[in-house]
Symmetry: D2
Subunit: 412 residues, 4 copies
Amino acid sequence: MTEMDLGMTERLKPIHERVSRMVSEEILPLDEEFLAEVGAGDDRWTYTPRQTEILEGLKAKARERGLWNFWLTGSERGYGLSTVEYAYLAEEMGKAHLGAETFNCSAPDTGNMEVLERYGSQDHKKRWLEPLLEGKIRSAYLMTEPDVASSDATNISLRCERDGDDYVLNGEKWWASGAGDPRCAIYIVMVKTGTGEAKHKQHSMILVPADAKGVKKLRAMKVYGDDDAPHGHLHIRFENVRVPASNLILGEGRGFEIAQGRLGPGRIHHCMRAIGQAEKALEMMCTRSMRREAFGKPLAQLGANFDIIAECRMEIEMARLLCLKAAWMIDQGDARAAAPWISQIKVVAPRVALKVTDEAVQMFGAQGISQDTPLARAWTHLRTLRLADGPDAVHRRQIARAELKKYTQEQV
Amino acid sequence: MTEMDLGMTERLKPIHERVSRMVSEEILPLDEEFLAEVGAGDDRWTYTPRQTEILEGLKAKARERGLWNFWLTGSERGYGLSTVEYAYLAEEMGKAHLGAETFNCSAPDTGNMEVLERYGSQDHKKRWLEPLLEGKIRSAYLMTEPDVASSDATNISLRCERDGDDYVLNGEKWWASGAGDPRCAIYIVMVKTGTGEAKHKQHSMILVPADAKGVKKLRAMKVYGDDDAPHGHLHIRFENVRVPASNLILGEGRGFEIAQGRLGPGRIHHCMRAIGQAEKALEMMCTRSMRREAFGKPLAQLGANFDIIAECRMEIEMARLLCLKAAWMIDQGDARAAAPWISQIKVVAPRVALKVTDEAVQMFGAQGISQDTPLARAWTHLRTLRLADGPDAVHRRQIARAELKKYTQEQV
Amino acid sequence: MTEMDLGMTERLKPIHERVSRMVSEEILPLDEEFLAEVGAGDDRWTYTPRQTEILEGLKAKARERGLWNFWLTGSERGYGLSTVEYAYLAEEMGKAHLGAETFNCSAPDTGNMEVLERYGSQDHKKRWLEPLLEGKIRSAYLMTEPDVASSDATNISLRCERDGDDYVLNGEKWWASGAGDPRCAIYIVMVKTGTGEAKHKQHSMILVPADAKGVKKLRAMKVYGDDDAPHGHLHIRFENVRVPASNLILGEGRGFEIAQGRLGPGRIHHCMRAIGQAEKALEMMCTRSMRREAFGKPLAQLGANFDIIAECRMEIEMARLLCLKAAWMIDQGDARAAAPWISQIKVVAPRVALKVTDEAVQMFGAQGISQDTPLARAWTHLRTLRLADGPDAVHRRQIARAELKKYTQEQV
Amino acid sequence: MTEMDLGMTERLKPIHERVSRMVSEEILPLDEEFLAEVGAGDDRWTYTPRQTEILEGLKAKARERGLWNFWLTGSERGYGLSTVEYAYLAEEMGKAHLGAETFNCSAPDTGNMEVLERYGSQDHKKRWLEPLLEGKIRSAYLMTEPDVASSDATNISLRCERDGDDYVLNGEKWWASGAGDPRCAIYIVMVKTGTGEAKHKQHSMILVPADAKGVKKLRAMKVYGDDDAPHGHLHIRFENVRVPASNLILGEGRGFEIAQGRLGPGRIHHCMRAIGQAEKALEMMCTRSMRREAFGKPLAQLGANFDIIAECRMEIEMARLLCLKAAWMIDQGDARAAAPWISQIKVVAPRVALKVTDEAVQMFGAQGISQDTPLARAWTHLRTLRLADGPDAVHRRQIARAELKKYTQEQV
């Protein structure tokens, strides 16, 4: 019962095998074509027919094979996988751009679906969770705001005021990832509903349909120059956006409670996908280093390249083990005990994946920074993970406080 | 005579003051507008009228004020600045996107102009150097090729064969920076003219007009997703491109000789501009850290931020001093003695600037990776410098060999 | 069966609890007194009566309690612990200077006993293994030589020639750890017995009693100035040292085979003890940081100290998990598959422990480098682990080769 | 006048040449013998006759040649060298254990002599400065205390109370470097004379003869196990130690004023000697890497060794330039402006020298950590510099505050 099994379980192995094979044999070969289509049509913010064909084709195959919605850990609706088990699958999905979405396991939908599954009303579930579970619509999670340091989430200030049977929202959000997608139908929005209460009781989460009146898409935020269309990371203004009061999830002032429940597993998913990207980058680095020659030798034989490869291998192994340990902690059911482990891997996984990817870029030379490999895109995506869901500094702070509390009863 | 004065000379000070002020007061305020226009017109690969107005307006002002062509170090045509003196100006120019071009000091033109100034025929000078010196045309330098490890430049393989009074070129180049610019009129191309000779005597440099028949612009290479239009880094195919034999610079087999002369000072320029970017990033980091608050304090007071700021300050100072020392070595006139110093700063300056920029990104949070600050663009540009003109590993190898040769007569 | 359980097993928990408590409550409090006695008597190379009293007292208690010879993993003689299980105990033992010896689990005896257990003759076992198992004598392992790069062990050159029923040894060994101990009765010596054979078939291992004629103890090697008396790391000359031919273990030319068997688990032991030292150092760092004040605040609240503590915590967790994974690989029984994992942890564990210890030193200020804490001694000991049993570079090379072999059949 | 000449001046070159040659040809060859004598006599805390012969012999030669007291920068008594010039000499002296003392330029005497030269009364100068300048006695500087965080020097608490014409001292100091030397005749002691005044006006410096009644030498502090006898770093108790009131330097409450004057140049000296040690270590690493073979190649050709050598070269160059810049800032005469530069090099120089030395240790393998090379001793000495005269963290804090003050008038 208390054993810490971080390996693949027997039931997971065949699933893992099928997911892994589908990623490498069916999804990866289409990634490049899919990405090359971005901006090829009239509108960057729609999918081209070929993109739709690729994506929906993959999804249909995966669903047909029962490789679908793995993220529903511990739930009756899904496979009932443990977080550790899911982590192994997330790693595989991370290796392809379309990996996660093919299996209906992509962010931010998984986190949003968890919120609806755990905290949503029957009506919320029927209206939004069902189509999400079927991969028919997509969703966004609106947290960060342009004018405050969102690393301290008590700063969140988008006003949401009760007016009769409705709530009325005013303010701005940015980095609404996925809100550019034409299929994105629903937002979960962190809002400020209170003022006088305790700092962590003033915020709430509310459902806002993407087509609600007053929702203004101001612009797409770019990540190192890339707007990530048509997924997109939007800057959105809410001007007197009115939604029924029943759209409020769980009740006023419970925003932080929901956020905590939402972010834990999601962070593990991100981290394991990051590790998948790192594995992919290391593989590319190795094969490149053996094929490319300079000064009469394969690159592998030159300079520090053995050492670089070895360091990447060690860092990946350690990051994966730490991630599995954090997943195992989540599976033990004590969120408070798991929190510092999640913070640890949240700092470590992006760092390691960034490092490995950057070394791979360097091994590929100018090709590495270009559109001819997935490395440059992987790097910029990974870089966002050092900020998303809390910057490194905030997580290190949490880790240190957990450490010091072992030795004192006092506030640290 | 032998003193190692790394400070600003008296004659430089007023020039530096004027350049610095023009960068901060006139160029920087227009950078954002200029960049926002990219892609705003019908064709990403032309300048919009507003872009032309901004750029040519700045150039005209600079030229009128005599702030022009500083890079002609040790030459009678220009200011006769030393490399050390020029380095101080390059740092200022590096702080703005349009900094270098405003003063007709941007890459790759400066290197190309140096080649023409030093090694070009009278005809070359009249035809191409004059309009370049006046800022009327631009140029590209075509070295790297897609199919070989160009870090070992003896791999360069674009064929250039004598045919009567002409040379005929066949092959591919990529990362032809600036070749996308509609003003780019002339390419200096590193080609293979020999085969049986000693390894470093088989290559030559030749002038190819951008509009020569058979020059096919295949595509624009992207840097972390950005095509850098309209400047561009092009992938170009030469299909039986024919140029007069007199376009060959200096003579067959002298390509490496020219390359060495070209790259030394150019690397210093790149490095000092990188240090300028780092200074700018540190300034932004400091002001941000005092204005932005989280957990009830300005960011500067939180966690490791003092230490981060201090480390950035130290690294910048050391990199600047090393760069000035390398510049001073160039000024001493012994290229062989200067070479390991240039390799040193070629490794150090991009690394430091990348680190400082990345820390600044982190201090800015999600805004740092976006289009709302120049940091993300600076980072991707700086990242190319770890590959351009030789990857880090090649330079470290040169440094180590120079070091070991102090102790042995043997080949190391 | 294939599950990767890296946690503590149910049977281990009570043992672990008892070992842990004995270390913290009985051994640690005597460490300082024991160490302060070094050099207090007439001869640095004998134990003072008080030292003997402390050490033998602890051993007797441990043996009486059955906390003895845990290292005999997978053997019928011992607890039959798995390597994973033993690793958890080794971590606890690493926290005290006398930790390992108290439980008869100290290096180099454990490795030597393993050699005798696995490869020794009945006579070897009776004569040397029995008293070692009882903690009555100690042993040394003589591998490294002063005149060759022992990182490439095929360089080992101490001559061992057959002469009738005897072998005669001539040459020098150094860093014979434990050979200074008056209780050290037997050496296992790596010798060169062949010449014409394949490179890995020319060496053998042979038993040489410490009091054999011709064994000259030349001097004690110092580790950062400390001779580690009376344990000692001796430089020894063999002058026509004659031993019976039956002292040769397993047969001529099988030295490398034995060495590989010997070193694998031993490296894990070292690594887990290193992690124990790191945990101890982090604990000291944390308590110090809360008690010591400067500039009106506890050190913990100053500058980067939260970040330093967090980084140490993360690095320890990852190193521990990697070590447990390597132990688990050993337990799977495929030595070739386990080898790169052992190389990985051999590089990682000392590095992490050195880093954490050094940060702890810095947190303690001048006290940290002094005799007033165990930190300085821990650091110098840990520093030897980056060299002992193969320097980092050799292990990184092994890791890289294992990695590249995944993608090629060729020699890498 | 404002030029920043960081090179060797013409007048310095012949002096530098003579110092450099004396270090390499006369001092270095005796270092090992001198150090091997430590502890060879009856008493570790006296010099053996051979040690005295070596040391006094070298000093006599140096003095005879006029290579003496270079540290008196800007003074009429000495060479009138600038700090930059002296820095070049300090680097050479750093390469040998006896380097600095041979030229009467060793710490803590130089700092103490500076205090006496600048702030001492005529009587102080005659009584103590004269014999120090002649190398007849030595001195110690007693600052740090065992029970307080001396990194915040306002914590210094050794009581010094006026009693008639005397002052009476009570309390403890430790890390009194050089106080073990039988020639050490005088201490400069930082004491607390006030209480109610402003925090930086409560301390004073006072001269206490080493043989004053009530001075109890409690023990020698060890540095990573080495007591550094007979120089020593003593823990001393003052029990009602009575000295004449005229022994107080400059006046009550002026301790910090003196400390600042004392520490600036002294830190540069330490740093440049550290860089000399780093240069020496790099030289050893290079020659070792070419002579030692493993796997059929000289170590230099293996793995990352070229990269390691290159990194060491770059780091040394940058640290030296930064140190020279800091020296130049001191020479400009504005102590406040120079302070952050001194803090910078105080952090950088030990770090770089530690890194280079540690890499050299690794290249030497087990020999590197032993008494057979000066590397291990160099490392432990260098490690103290990250704590002495303020730990890294305090200096980084100063650097950051100086940086932020560029942008704000407020307290940071």
